[in-house]
Structure formats: C-alpha cells, structure tokens
Symmetry: C2
Subunit: 247 residues, 2 copies
C-alpha cells in the first residue's frame, strides 16, 4: 500500500536531544531513542526479527507497524518507543543485513588471492553469499525497494544497497587488477560490474528455486562466471584481449 509519511509533528515536549557528544554516526536517525537496558536491546532485536518474518512471509507492504508489533508479541507503542516511524524499522533491518553482508565480503576477499585458481576464487565469494540468502529470506525483499522515493527514510534501504553493491564492485575491481594488471581500467570495472550484477541476479533467482534446483543453479553460476572471467583474468599467453597493442 502506498505509505506516505507525514512530516511527523515532532513536537515532543523535550526529547533528550543531542545534549552532547555523539559517537554514533548514521544510526542516529534510525532510532528515536536508543535502548539503554538489555531489555530494550532485546526488544529492538525482537522487533527486527519480527519485521524480517513478516516481510519474508507477506512482503514489504504487509509489514505495517501493527503487523510487526503483533508478530513480535508486543504493543505498537513499544515500536514507537525506539523507532520514529515504520520505515525506520525496515531501515534498521536493512542496516543489520548490510552489516552482516559487509562482514561476508570482508572474509570472502582474501589478501592472498594471487595463488588461488580462478575457480577456487569464485567459489570462495559465491558460496557464502548463497548461504546468506538462504539464511535470510527477507533480505531480497528489503532491498528490492527501488531507488527513487523522494522520502529520506523510505529510500534508506535502496541507498544502502547501492552503497553495498558499489563497494562490492570496488573489491572485485581491485581483485581483478591484481590478477591481471594489463587489463584496462574501464574494461576491468565493467567486468566487475557485470559479474556483480549477474551474481546477484542468479542468487536471487536461486533463492526462489526449488530445493532440488539450488545446487545445480549455483554450479551453473560458477561456470558462467568462470567462462566469462577466464579470458579477462587468465589471458592466453601473449595476448591481451583489448584493442590496444595486440602484438
């Protein structure tokens, strides 16, 4: 359903506002008030889990404040205790996903890539991402939001996804550069972009496929990436696959 948020009166009598220093950076806007007791922390986690469940089951639009609260076995009021509005819940969930995703990326890109066969390298990156999708069925949907949406809160997941994707492409770019320094930069980046796009798409499709098809689809993705990247990264001796200096 179209959900527009209102300017939100925001006339809270006092609101322990900035007060002083703030080590937090981005999450400042995501919370109305940060939880201070363990009870509060776990409630927030509960709410995020509930949101993920609802979204996985019935889609983003079904994740109304009411539905989330209900699923979390709590009251709507509690939700608004910590979150300024409904979209902030989804944004926070997106943040949680993004964090985990970033960790996966961190791990998947080894320093010592040089020694690895391309095949192993692809495996090392693709596998944990597939697992992540399996573990988080709501992930795809949270980040399925499209870019525009003038609204700031609403656009948060899309922005986050763009960032995440960007940084992933950057990593690929660096990796490719280290494997084949003779590959021209533009071409290299394009290959990184394509690889990321393709990987994302096939993984998304895989997560909707029947259990029996999951493994073969993953294998096929590997093969696809391998045949695509091989000529770029492990070029046949003495040839560079570009227009310049064919030799």
């Amino acid at each position: 359903m179209p959900v527009k948020i209102t300017a939100a009166p925001t006339t809270p009598a006092d609101t322990d506002l900035p007060s002083s220093d703030e080590p937090k950076a981005h999450q400042d806007g995501a919370f109305r008030r940060r939880p201070r007791q363990s009870r509060g922390h776990s409630r927030v986690e509960l709410l995020l889990d509930a949101a993920a469940d609802v979204i996985a089951d019935s889609g983003l639009d079904a994740a109304t404040a009411e539905a989330i609260a209900l699923r979390a076995k709590t009251a709507k009021g509690s939700l608004y205790q910590f979150f300024p509005n409904r979209d902030a819940v989804v944004a926070a969930l997106a943040l949680r996903y993004a964090d985990e995703m970033r960790q996966i990326h961190e791990k998947a890109f080894p320093m010592d890539s040089q020694g690895l066969a391309l095949e192993r390298l692809i495996d090392r990156i693709v596998k944990p991402l597939a697992d992540f999708h399996d573990r988080n069925p709501a992930f795809r949907r949270v980040f399925a939001t499209v870019e525009s949406s003038a609204d700031d809160m609403r656009a948060a997941p899309a922005r986050l996804r763009a960032q995440l994707f960007e940084s992933f492409v950057d990593r690929l770019d660096v990796l490719f550069a280290s494997r084949n320094p003779r590959l021209p930069a533009r071409e290299r980046r394009r290959a990184a972009l394509i690889s990321a796009t393709v990987g994302q798409a096939v993984l998304a499709r895989r997560s909707r496929a029947s259990a029996a098809e999951k493994k073969p689809l993953l294998a096929e993705l590997r093969r696809l990436l391998l045949t695509y990247l091989k000529p770029l990264l492990d070029p046949p001796v003495g040839t560079i696959r570009t227009s310049r200096a064919p030799r």
Copy 2:
C-alpha cells in the same frame, strides 16, 4: 476474476494475452466499464500514460489515484469511471507492457534460427529488449513488485511478469533444443533460465547506467552470453553442426 492466468505457454501458437478483439473475457475484471467513445478510449490511454510517468518519476507507491489523475489532467472520478480501483490502473499498464513485450519476443525468435550464427542470434534477441527498456522507463518498476501480496489485483503485475518470463524461458528452451538436440533437457532448461535471468539483470542495470556506458554494457552482455552458451550450443568436438537432415 482479475487477469487471466495461463501458465505453460510452451508452443508458439498460443498467444493468449489480451488483444483488443476479445470483447470482455479477461479485461472484464480490469475495467469497470469499457470506454465506448473515442473520448473515453483516449482518456484511458492518457491515464495509463500518466501512471507510467508518475511511476517512472517517483516510484510505484507514489502512483496514487489522485496523483495519476492529476498528471493526466483529469479527475479522480474519471479514473473510477473506467477502473475499479487504483491497482487496476497499474495492472492495465502492466498488461500494455506485457503485450508489447510479447510482440517483441515473437519477432525476436525467428523460425529459421538454424542458419544463424550464435552471435547474430543473441543480437537479435538482446537488442530489441534493450530498446524496449529505453523506451519505457517505468517498465522495470511496474514489474518490480514482489510475488507475495495476498491481494489479487495487487499481485497481477507480478503474475504477469512471471508468465512473461516463463514464456521467454520456454522460447529459449525450444531454441536451444533445436540448435543442439543432444543437450539434456534439464541442463538445457537451466541454461535457458540462467540466460534469461542474466539478460534481464544486465539490461536492468544498463537502463540505470550513464548514456556513455549503455553501449559497452550491451556489448559485454553479448559477450557474456556468447561465452556461456557457446560450449552448450556449439559443442567443440563430435558435434552435429547440422541445419537440417541430422542424419
């Protein structure tokens, strides 16, 4: 009874998608009342165009009945004259897209594929789809709706997209079979699925890319598909490179 669902298109003789010569079988649900004067017809077109504009500019959620009517320089009441509800407008738009898309598919898959080089074949399919994306910036968004959504009307675009995708995969499947009859069916279908997924994803990304990158991205997609499909469709050794008369 909203939009008719016919899964399993498989053969090239069905084309059961709504075409204007059918009185009121399928679109009965999509229209509250069909326009009978040219004025009404053009108003409907105007409304759909307006909806496409709004969606392209500000996303699906922004396309409220009010916003659409405003953009079309008409009144909400007129909208409800023809459409039973807001979602029906989007559904109708989706239908319009699906129609055009189907025509493109029709044209892109030639009967005489046998004689064509794989490279030309890919071109012939990919190019018109890229053009379509360029012509219809709202397309991606209309069909971006995720599958769930218990609502019948709401889910129409997603169903339509699934159908369209399915039929596209079917066509690829048939094409692949004719090019390499020795390819096992499951493997063949998987290749078709992957090809379609990948093509879709890269085209979607391309439509968001800068003007300068559009062409190279398309070229890269072609190369990707070529290297992926080559070993499957034009197997290196012991192949039957037949056009007809396989034996």
